[in-house]
């Protein structure tokens, strides 16, 4: 499996506060990877750095062996990387349809965009009859579907998903993870950043564990699931 995204020795932070320390990770083409850790360990900072919203202090980020460390977010979307941010961050005053079409802002081919819109509505049927509703009036689960749909409309090769489960009942999260699995099945690589370790590990091929801004563990999901440290600290019992 060829490497799609490679992060090597990245350190990042904000004005005086460093959060990430020499983080390295790899995402293969079509792979599903989970990034785990408690609140405030640097998961979102890592995502922002990979999506280009934050410029790293040290280290390199490569996309298909091309250095994109200093490339801005808008260009990374055109390369095929798309981040579905934490807290959904929809354009609340615009309709669901406008939000989805904004997802395809970077694309010029109208035919492809309409085809992808149809694919999103198949994946999330609940959105079909709410296309003309103002996005801000949707329920939590529906807003999350719209956010993922908006991400898919960019026709990504790699989709980042930040805290899918936050604010959603476990059953809703489960349904969304099944949809993400289906997206992954269609060849889109997925990186899921989650606090809800239990749910995401059963969907990801591989996983990384972050503590205090450092990668402390890496491996196949099954191995992590069985690992005593994970069970004690993160599996709640």
């Amino acid at each position: 499996m060829s490497t799609l995204l490679e992060v090597s020795q990245v350190s990042a932070g904000y004005r005086d506060v460093q959060i990430l320390w020499d983080v390295s990770l790899r995402v293969g083409d079509g792979e599903s990877v989970a990034v785990l850790g408690a609140n405030g360990v640097g998961k979102s900072t890592l995502l922002k750095t990979m999506a280009g919203l934050l410029r790293p202090i040290r280290g390199r980020i490569r996309w298909k062996n091309q250095d994109i460390t200093r490339v801005d977010p808008a260009a990374r979307v055109r390369l095929g990387m798309c981040l579905v941010p934490e807290g959904k961050r929809l354009f609340v005053g615009m309709t669901v349809r406008e939000n989805l079409l904004m997802g395809a802002f970077a694309r010029r081919n109208g035919v492809e965009v309409r085809r992808d819109l149809e694919r999103v509505l198949i994946l999330f049927p609940a959105l079909r009859d709410k296309l003309h509703r103002i996005a801000g009036t949707l329920s939590g689960g529906e807003q999350q579907m719209c956010a993922i749909g908006r991400g898919l409309m960019a026709g990504p090769r790699l989709l980042f998903l930040d805290e899918l489960s936050s604010g959603l009942a476990p059953a809703v999260t489960e349904a969304l993870l099944e949809a993400v699995a289906e997206i992954n099945g269609q060849g889109v690589a997925v990186v899921m950043v989650e606090q809800d370790v239990m749910a995401v590990l059963s969907h990801a091929h591989r996983a990384y564990l972050i503590e205090g801004g450092r990668i402390v563990m890496e491996g196949k999901s099954a191995d992590l699931l069985a690992n005593p440290l994970i069970k004690k600290n993160y599996l709640a019992l």
């Binding site: 919203l53 808008a74 979307v77 798309c82 961050r89 609340v92 615009m94 802002f105």
Partner: protein, 292 residues
């Protein structure tokens, strides 16, 4: 009958206020930037029309596109090379930056056009139509029509064009807009340029209704703020409603208090609105956060 005529004239003036306010609201809504030079940019548009009128006798209504393009270019350059450097700064900084620019623009106009008051009086300025004993001049009707047309054009642009949607999206969430491929720097420059163009276009309209000089911009900016707060930030229909209301309130107040109190009334109404209902009629939750 006097009150009816005041009511109509108030509404006609309100159309211009709406047009002046909607461009101010666009820039504030998208970039959280209050442009204290907005009024003077309108005055600059009026002077462009004044030069064309004096040199070639061009009718003020025809000079609107020229004024709009001039301000579009000035606006784009100003945002691209100056304001973009500071736009993420605190409310202190952006207010004072635009005040500094306002100072520069006013003095430039003073140097070129001196402080004399000017007016744009097309040949048909005196003519008008009469309903019973109410006289409404063609110029006022023309200004009202153009003002609403410009406002409608902006609404059309925002609602139905790719760039318009990108501007609206950026006004709701800058970071999310970047994540779908929008280049914020370009959108900010385009937004400021469109706002400036609309301000420029309202210059000739203003010039036909009132006499103007380089220093009248400040009051216009404050009027724009009153209308935006009244109508609600980021809402074009809100700006129209706010503009019409302010126009009528100002005109009717002359019945009670005499003509001198127009400005005082608009500022007092601003204070009352801000205290009672900061979101205005149709606005989104008010922009109250103070960027540290």
């Amino acid at each position: 009958m006097l009150t009816l005529e005041l009511l109509i004239n108030g509404m006609l003036l309100g159309g211009l206020y709406a047009c002046v306010a909607v461009s101010f609201s666009l820039i504030w809504g998208v970039m959280n930037l209050i442009n204290l030079a907005h009024g003077t940019m309108i005055v600059l548009g009026a002077y462009v029309s004044f030069m064309l009128f004096r040199a070639f006798g061009l009718d003020p209504f025809l000079s609107i596109p020229v004024a709009a393009v001039t301000l579009f270019l000035l606006g784009y350059a100003l945002q691209r090379f100056v304001i973009n450097l500071v736009v993420k700064g605190s409310v202190f900084m952006t207010l004072i930056l635009t005040f500094g620019f306002n100072l520069l623009l006013v003095n430039a106009l003073l140097a070129i056009f001196t402080a004399d008051t000017r007016a744009l009086t097309p040949s048909y300025a005196g003519l008008g139509v009469a309903f019973g004993d109410i006289r409404i001049s063609y110029v006022r009707l023309g200004v009202f029509a153009f003002a609403l047309a410009l406002t409608y054009l902006l609404n059309l642009f925002l609602g139905h064009t790719r760039m318009g949607q990108a501007i609206k999206a950026t006004s709701f969430d800058q970071e999310a807009a970047q994540l779908v491929g929008v280049r914020i720097r370009d959108i900010f420059s385009l937004t400021f340029a469109i706002g400036a163009a609309l301000a420029g276009a309202s210059g000739p309209l203003l010039g036909m209704l009132h006499s103007f000089s380089p220093v009248v911009g400040g009051t216009l900016t404050m009027k724009a703020f009153v209308v935006v707060v009244l109508g609600g930030l980021g809402s074009v229909p809100g700006a129209v409603l706010g503009g019409l209301t302010l126009g009528v309130v100002e005109h009717l107040s002359t019945l009670v208090l005499g003509s001198g109190y127009q400005d005082a009334i608009s500022f007092l109404s601003l204070l009352v609105i801000l205290i009672l209902r900061p979101t205005g009629f149709l606005g989104k939750k008010f922009y109250a956060e103070l960027k540290a």
